[in-house]
Amino acid sequence: MSADAERQLRDQIGTALDQYTPGPVPFDTIVRRGRAAVVRKRIANAVGAIVIVALAAGTPLILRSFTGPAPATRPPATHYRVSVSPPAPGAPQGEIATGTVNGWRWQVRASNGPSGQICFIGRGISGLCDDSQDLAQEHSGPPVSFFGVNGSPNPGSIVVGTVRADVNLVRVSLTNGSTLSLHPVQALGRRTAPLLALGVPDPQAVTRITAYSSRGEIGYAIPFTGAGAVETVRWLRPGQPALPRPATYTVGSGSTRGHAWTVRLAIGPWGTCGNVYMARTSTGECWTGDLKALRPGQLVSYTGVNAVLIQPSTGVFADQVAPAVSYVILTQRDGSIFRVSTRPAAGHRYFAYVSAYSPGGKTAPGFAVVRWTAYDAAGRKLGSGSL
């Protein structure tokens, strides 16, 4: 082929594609689909972990979330004994740490798993895997990230995490007044982030995480543990006050096909976490800073708080509304409508609802609710739009 012909082809393709004007960005739909994908990924991980644990134990499958029961209203225990030790000389390859929880011994090793995954195995832990790219060595970002909790049927929960490259010590404060010193381990070579692990009776036992480099304290985090995991959402500078004081708001609740659910917002020094609690599980999203502000004129905004209620077809979702919105009428694909009242939380208003969830729709993928109409307390229509 001649250079002229190639240039002509390049020009023609360039003209054809460059002059094509795409439609407006469907940002809310993209985020909704992205968050739904995150939820599906979590549930897939949870189901995988449950199956592996059940098979290993030879016991019937116990249906519960990977993140464990929702402990939001249960006071954390304060009388327990825990210990953690770094790998001893001659320890198995990949070992991250060993320890005890009230005499129960645990051990965690990292191992290269199938399909580019890294799996965490050992005594008291199995089936916890993550993509190796997600565990790559980091030189920026949060100092510590805890990404897995392996709890029941064990008497304690094992939490595994990664640290930033410059972190060489992590101190974890617990509700019993003790502090664990964790030394990150480069268990799988320099391409993988240094790893750490600890065992606690319950994730709620963790009250503070402080990260140190060779130069001293980097910062600290008050984790959000209300969803059965240790989530280090927001990092504070050394000495920075841990504000605001924790507060929890219920922004929706209900029962569908025998499944009771509640949506709560937890606001505290960690930032804001929205969580959907069900009988024995919880899942949701945390974000830093203040509650998101609606754009001027915007009546409804997607928060990202969602959870699959009855796998695989029904989910619970929560959205934010403008302060004037008292209730919302939602229209489903089949034309049926239902009304949802909004509830206040920290100066904003939210509503929560159940929707059929079936990935694959075109314009609002996976969601039966296709339209909202917002009303004020006097019943005046304020506006409407597509979800």
């Binding site: 002059q19 094509y20 689909r33 994908a37 997600d134 800073g289």
Partner: protein, 167 residues
Amino acid sequence: MAGDVDAEFSELVFSRWPRLVRLAYGLTGDPGLAEDLAQTALANAYASWSRVRRSNDPDRYLTKILLNAHRGGFRKRRVHEQLTDAVPDRGRDDPFSGHPDRAAIITALSALPARQREAVVLRYWLDYTETQAAHALGCSVGNVKSQVSRALAKLRVSPDLADWGSQ
């Protein structure tokens, strides 16, 4: 996902949307499918945000996500569309319906096998080198060369591009 991350993602979406839709249009030849594919790719990027963020070249990463979506899940997903008696959004006319010359190249591209179409769009619209295209397509440089060569041979005799390649 944290609020500050949402802001970063928002910036990425709004800045890359036109490019991704155009790339998807080159791959699918259908405006509706193109926007659907770009949407799918960005939603997948959201779900893998930490990886996108860590990548040295987010554009290349997004391109790869879009190519993967085009080949795998996206095509499967299209099978499961739901019927509704209401039209929730307005359809868009083919942007080139009034421009036969521009439509011709898209029609000719659409007639190519998917792999050849991908190779041509990467090489001649994104200006990828053969090595970059091979990386994005997950194949060897030699494979890219052969795909492009076969594609160009087909385009040369395409009735939609009668005036092209005869010089």
